[in-house]
Amino acid sequence: MKKRFAKIAALLCALTMAASVVTSCGSKDDNSGTSGAKTGELDTSKEVELSIYVIGDRPAKQDEVEENYNKLFKEKLNCTVKTNYLSWAEYRNKYPLLFSSGEKFDMAYAASWLNFYSLAQKGAFMNLDELWPTYAPKNFAQQSETAKEQATVDGHYYGIPSLYKTYSAYGPIYRTDILEGTDWDGKMENLEDYETYLSYVKKEAPEMQPLSIVQEGAEIDELFMQERGLYPVKGALGDFLWLDPTESNPKIFTYYDYEETPEFLELVNRWNEAGYFSKSALSNTDTTEVENGKAASRIKNMGTYEGAHIQHPDWGFKFANFVSDVSYSSFMQDAFVISNTSENPERALAWYDLITSDEEAFRTWNYGIEGKSYQIVDGQVEKLNLEEYEENPLWTARTPGLFLRVFGSPADIPEMEASYDEHIKEDQGCQKFRAFNIDTSKVETEYAACINVHQQYWWPLELGYTDPVEGLKEYQQKMEAAGVDKVIEEFQRQLDEYLKNK
């Protein structure tokens, strides 16, 4: 039997070997994609079809929209564009695989939350150092220095950041109609005021959940930290490392190092006991509790506020920003990349330049067909027949000036944005750190482990589900075991270097 088994094992082994020979032969010709740009004018004599990957479901009448914009692109650049959708159910698995299968396509949506940095480092995208300024000059000229730095990985451009400014403003989106006629003073400037609001909702509208929290993360912790002027080292939420931008040589720290954390935990325990949010929040996937009237408030950004207000203009939605030092969110939250397998990167960039600078091209690409899928009302865009048409999900192509507010959007948003614009100064406060991109490659293992520990131990802690003292100790112990010190040490080194060059 042993002998027979050995034979089988040998056979299987041989098969696997054969397989690697077959496959390695095939892989030779994969990397023949174009690299390096030729200088000079774009040659549009040959008609090409560009293909792009975006995330979303293909709208029912997308064919019509595609035909419409291709007429324009054909005339302007002698090209057509085929949009491929990675649907909502598959993007998490398929997005990284897309770049590994050797499939030939030209462009894709990318984003920091889709691991742009990690993918760029691993060679998933085409180097744009020369291509971008040469073939998309208008886009390149409009980019801020910060944005360009954010798009830099290992000294090279691998993606084109969005031109659209979004703000790190964050805070409660809350209904005021339910407290009308009560003695609530309407003040909403900090977490204390918010706590008052929640207690009023509990009392006056007991059938409602005062604060809606879903399993994607509670974000009360991040609000607490940013209210104290701290900056998330990653430049986006969903991380565990912070720094104080007012220090001249800021030290990176995490929650258990911070002296006010016990105070924070006390706060969430109080909220938990008072029943302001669900005791099973971490398994709740219903993200529309506020929009459908089950909950009174949630903590989010201005975009969510805008959406809620448009949906229910009569519910008296308001938004209060608690972030004391607002800065521009990373411009790489939405980005555009060229695939390594692209055969026409020049044309792809020229096309991107066109849709981000030309109003007609921008509108046919983003909004579709005027009168059918959108119309312009008072300088705002009203989307029509949403079941059949949807805005193109290449969210990165939102050029200020061309991108219009959605019809019915709340009137106070432009004011708020103006005040943030006035507040933000390059090289000051949080904005100073915006161009700092952490490079996780050296501590990839530890960083992934820490994120996992953070989710497992901090999330229940930040909702008051575990004991504030014991739980914090356990969290610290697990983070240390996962190698958080090594992560901090590495990021600190990168940060010091960044500040030296600043």
């Binding site: 299987l12 496959t23 695989l97 994607e216 993360g217 993200t287 969510t304 448009i310």
Partner: protein, 304 residues
């Protein structure tokens, strides 16, 4: 089952232990049946309930109100649903027929005692349940070397072979007396003809059982569609459903990370209505096939 039924009706005297057993059995089966039936009824009644009622009062056995809202949304684009039905039926039919034929043929060969390499070959198949390339390697290989992207073969081929089915099928084949094969051989029939004309007709219950398993496997599969199918017109029904169900969560996650607003979300009732539509006709297959597969077999091991 038929022979069991005869002993039961003829020989059973209602002894005390029998009464106890019957009471326990009926209670158990009724409880289990309820546990299986109620969620299903909740699903159906939920699909006819309005969104607000589900949100505030949860699911219930009897619909608290009645509306066709959700179904109107599901069928607002009927050609999409019917096309998805078409894809699912095509994949299930072609896959089941091909799978049944080749599986049975393979099972027949490895059940033949006079075939020296039957155990090696069985193990060759079994080994793939222990070892596999995993999602990543398999995906890269299928797309890059087999060019299965957006190809319906990617839905059919991977589910054709299943070791569990192979073992069951072999047990069915083994229950056929070998003398039948011998005598056919003496009559001068070739191996393939013996298989086609003698073995296959005797395997009705085996074919029904494995056919049902294969069909259900194909019908419920959305995973391969997720990985390999890109164009919407090739989505099978289950994947269309799965995609709709995932949409809300995925969009919310994106909205929390990118600064955008979420609109136009599918609703709870819609989820359930989609589930009802997707399960639809396949559920009738089971009682229909049931009468064929109650014949006795003992599933055997990898070695024969």
């Amino acid at each position: 089952m038929s022979n069991m039924a005869t002993i039961n009706s003829n020989k059973i005297k209602l002894t005390k232990s029998r009464i106890v057993f019957n009471i326990i059995s009926y209670l158990l089966l009724i409880a289990l049946s309820l546990a299986c039936l109620l969620p299903f009824i909740m699903l159906i009644s939920g699909s006819f309930t309005s969104e607000q009622v589900i949100r505030f009062e949860g699911y219930s056995i009897l619909p608290k109100d009645f509306t066709l809202e959700a179904y109107e949304v599901v069928f607002q684009n009927p050609e999409q649903i019917f096309r998805a039905y078409g894809v699912s039926i095509f994949v299930a039919v072609v896959g089941t027929i091909l799978g049944l034929f080749f599986l049975t043929m393979t099972a027949y060969v490895i059940s033949r005692k006079d075939f020296k390499y039957r155990n090696v070959i069985s193990f060759y198949f079994y080994f793939t349940t222990l070892f596999n390339g995993g999602m990543v390697c398999t995906y890269i290989f299928y797309i890059q070397y087999l060019h299965l992207k957006d190809n319906l073969l990617a839905l059919i081929l991977p589910l054709m072979m299943n070791v569990f089915y192979l073992l069951i099928m072999r047990s069915f084949v083994t229950s056929i007396p070998p003398a039948l094969i011998e005598s056919a051989k003496i009559d001068g029939a070739g191996e393939f003809r013996i298989f086609l004309q003698i073995i296959l007709p005797l395997l009705k219950s085996g074919l029904a059982t494995i056919g049902l398993f294969l069909t259900l496997g194909y019908w419920n599969d959305w995973y391969n569609a997720m990985l390999y199918i890109n164009s919407e017109e090739k989505y099978p029904l289950q994947y269309m459903l799965y995609n709709m169900l995932q949409k809300q969560e995925a969009m919310a996650q994106i909205a929390s990370q990118a600064g955008m607003s979420v609109e136009n979300l599918p609703t709870n009732a819609l989820k359930l209505a989609m589930a009802v539509v997707a399960t639809g006709p396949i559920i009738l297959l089971y009682p229909f096939v049931q009468k064929y597969f109650v014949k006795g077999i003992t599933i055997g091991s990898v070695k024969g």
